[in-house]
Symmetry: C2
Subunit: 127 residues, 2 copies
């Protein structure tokens, strides 16, 4: 498989596959005579794994950890759970922040008449 086939199979853009190779996250299985990256099924599995983990907002660093665990037959589920729990907690913190933000902003937007006069509670609040 060359890079565009691997990209299609893993659901990632070609540029991103090349980027992951550059940073040593998922290297190509080998290179052709001409220097083209060649991917095999195992490499594509790793790429897909990363893509899925990224949709969970795991950072690339966390993906690297998870990938190591993924490939380590001797890993314990406790190790994996620890990383996932940390991510979950971060997401929940972000959620609470976002909720507070939304409520404040919604309040201001609601209070603003949005007409052609200049007085505006949003600006009053910010200024």
């Amino acid at each position: 498989m060359n890079i565009s086939e691997a990209a299609k199979a893993s659901g990632l853009p070609v540029k991103t596959v090349r980027y992951y190779a550059d940073i040593g996250l998922v290297e190509a299985a080998s290179r052709s005579q001409a220097g083209y990256r060649i991917y095999n099924d195992a490499a594509v599995r790793r790429l897909s794994f990363i893509r899925r983990a990224r949709t969970f907002d795991f950072s690339v660093a966390e993906c690297r950890e998870l990938l190591d665990l993924y490939q380590d037959q001797g890993r314990t589920s406790a190790e994996v759970k620890k990383i996932a729990s940390k991510r979950l907690e971060e997401i929940e913190i972000k959620q609470r922040e976002l909720q507070a933000l939304r409520d404040d902003l919604a309040h201001l937007v609601k209070a603003c008449r949005g007409d052609d006069r200049p007085d505006c509670p949003i600006i009053d609040f910010l200024g």
Copy 2:
């Protein structure tokens, strides 16, 4: 006021105040003989305005728009409300995404025993 006083008064780090000057968002009122930035109350008000808007996750570009409106006596509240409403909608979209993410991840974390055995539904799902 020199930069560290302005920073303290506006609640921003010195580096950030300098950065905002660099990008032409909030320039110092003048410079001293020695080239030190000098801030006055109006500049500090603008810095504070930006800081508050940033806590609402307005981008720097949006802050620039808002700042223009803030300083424009002829603005209408409709103009301000339009920007704030757009921001609010983006926040709500982000909230829904985050909720879906959290639910999926929470489900996986809950299903994972987190013991010293290798089998793990999180890894199973990702792989």
